[in-house]
């Protein structure tokens, strides 16, 4: 028998809530007895938005700057990871053994090394050389010196930081693409064989078969796990603070170093991440149920 969910509170619920509150209160009292800490919550809003006296307008301060960079990185590496992951997923289902083995190797390497290690290896061995080879540093500085850089700044933030942003985006995308690839592979394999045979029987090439028959159906099926993976990507983006990409976590470290507001700063950052990720998951859930009208 299925138990229905109650919508009203029972006296037992109040009891449970009271016990939890009491437990927290006791812990809190014990800590505050020993902890010598001056709470300065009132200073936090100033680090999100700051009133600029000179310009006479509100400007983003450390935490909001960091959040915006995090969002930029998440979007760019999300797109890149989706492209790489789709290719990887297709490669994983290839009939060609070499292609399949290469894809499998890529996947297993990335999946069995901790993300932090991947980030460092990629940053020191690949990204820095790549940026040097492409002469990206000079290029970005050149742009930063131009007068009309509003569009560049909108998309990439401070252009002097562009190379670091790009390495962050690439390393995160590479890491996430392994997981996206697995999701896409599952999607491709969930498409019945008959679909592909029907496509072939009307003379479609492999590319057309993938593009018009398999992938549209596969991607629609894996949309829920893909959106979950995107939320993971937002959270994982905190790792690239280690290679000095100035996203939210990096900015929080900076803030703590300069103000010593350890608790307030980290709790505020936690809230920002939570709002972002929870907001995304609500959005995706709405999109999913909204898309249910279309017959599959």
């Amino acid at each position: 028998m299925r138990r229905t969910k109650r919508r009203s509170l029972h006296w037992l619920d109040y009891l449970i809530a009271a016990v939890v509150v009491a437990f927290i209160a006791v812990i809190w009292l014990r800590i505050s007895g020993t902890l010598n800490y001056k709470w300065q919550w009132e200073r936090i809003p100033n680090y999100i938005l700051r009133w600029d006296e000179a310009d006479g307008r509100w400007v983003a301060n450390l935490l909001l700057q960091g959040l915006i960079t995090t969002i930029r990185i998440a979007i760019y590496s999300g797109i890149l990871a989706l492209i790489l992951g789709t290719l990887l997923g297709i490669a994983r289902t290839s009939t060609n053994l070499v292609i399949r083995m290469l894809a499998r190797t890529y996947l297993e390497v990335l999946r069995n090394i901790p993300p932090v290690v991947v980030v460092f290896i990629f940053f020191f061995f690949l990204s820095q050389q790549l940026i040097a080879v492409l002469n990206m540093e000079t290029w970005a500085r050149g742009i930063a010196r131009q007068d009309d850089i509003a569009v560049w700044e909108f998309f990439f933030g401070d252009m002097r930081r562009f190379p670091s942003l790009i390495s962050g985006v690439i390393v995160l995308a590479l890491f996430e693409s392994a997981f996206v690839g697995e999701i896409v592979r599952a999607g491709i394999q969930s498409i019945p064989r008959g679909q592909r045979e029907a496509a072939r029987s009307i003379g479609m090439s492999w590319t057309d078969e993938m593009r018009f028959i398999v992938m549209p159906q596969a991607l629609r099926k894996v949309l829920p796990p893909l959106s979950n993976q995107f939320i993971s990507l937002v959270k994982d983006s905190s790792i690239i603070s280690l290679i000095s990409v100035q996203e939210l976590t990096y900015k929080t470290v900076e803030l703590v170093a300069s103000t010593r507001m350890i608790f307030e700063a980290w709790i505020a950052t936690a809230c920002l991440y939570f709002i972002l990720c929870f907001g995304l998951s609500l959005l995706f859930r709405r999109l999913e149920t909204g898309g249910k009208h279309k017959p599959r």
């Binding site: 029987s201 009307i202 090439s205 018009f212 028959i213 159906q217 017959p295």
Partner: protein
């Protein structure tokens, strides 16, 4: 009978699935305009044989020639053959993410490089042919099984094929829907299409077939005109099969 060269010719074809031999020494020819019905107990290799004709299965030995093209590893050849050979599957295999009309036009547009308007006109023409013009903008899942199979027939016809293969087209249908699909197939046969049908519908076979092929255990046991096949089958196996299938 005229001596026109066969449009489909299988010579000494063998096919293995791992260690299992699915087809043994198949020799089989179909002339232009001929209607062939392939029957036999399940697992006898009927489907495998017709799937070899458009190379959904690769044969392991022997030669298969379709419309003058020898089937081998050349993908261009295979695609050329597939454009001229339509196939209707047991499970319809319509594309669920496309509307009925899009199902019909995707082949002409993507493979024949036809423009959209011309392809849609073609699609509507064949949808009319199978008597469901009003379903054009629905999705396959909104149609009954019989309607879906008729859309699948129309989808193949949109490629204007020279040959149509039917792989048990009525086996997945509810009984009351079988006749509407068979009717569409009979009309197609009357229009002069070259057809190879794997089916258990012996009534249909009697009405349209020029030639009956009986298979068992991966071999062609008997080939005969339908009159002869139904009244006086030469092999015991075919007689037993017919007794079982026709006793109702």
């Amino acid at each position: 009978m005229t001596a026109a060269p066969p449009i489909i010719e299988l010579c000494h074809v063998d096919k293995y699935f791992g260690p299992f031999q699915a087809l043994t020494d198949i020799n089989f020819a179909v002339r232009q305009g001929e209607r062939v019905v392939v029957c036999g107990p399940s697992g006898s290799g009927k489907s495998t044989m017709i799937r070899c004709i458009n190379r959904l299965e690769e044969h392991d030995a022997g030669t298969i020639t379709v419309d003058g093209i020898l089937l081998g590893d050349d993908t261009k050849d295979i695609r050329a053959v597939r454009q001229d050979v339509g196939m209707v599957f047991q499970q319809f295999n319509l594309f669920p993410h496309l509307t009925v009309l899009e199902n019909l036009t995707i082949g002409p547009i993507r493979v024949r490089k036809m423009d959209k308007a011309a392809a849609e006109a073609l699609g509507r023409k064949y949808l009319d042919r199978v008597h469901i013009p009003e379903q054009a903008d629905k999705f396959p899942s909104q149609l009954s099984g019989g309607q879906q199979q008729r859309v699948a027939i129309a989808r193949s016809l949109c490629m204007e094929p020279k040959i149509m293969l039917f792989d048990e087209p009525t086996s997945a249908l509810d009984p009351e829907m079988i006749s509407e699909v068979l009717e569409a197939m009979v009309e197609l046969a009357n229009s002069g299409m070259t057809m190879v049908c794997v089916t258990h519908e012996m009534g249909f076979a009697r009405r349209v077939a020029d030639k009956m092929v009986f298979m068992e255990a991966g071999r062609i046991v008997e080939t005969a005109p339908p009159g002869e096949f139904f009244t006086a089958p030469k092999s015991d196996r075919a007689r037993m099969f017919l007794d079982q299938i026709l006793e109702h």
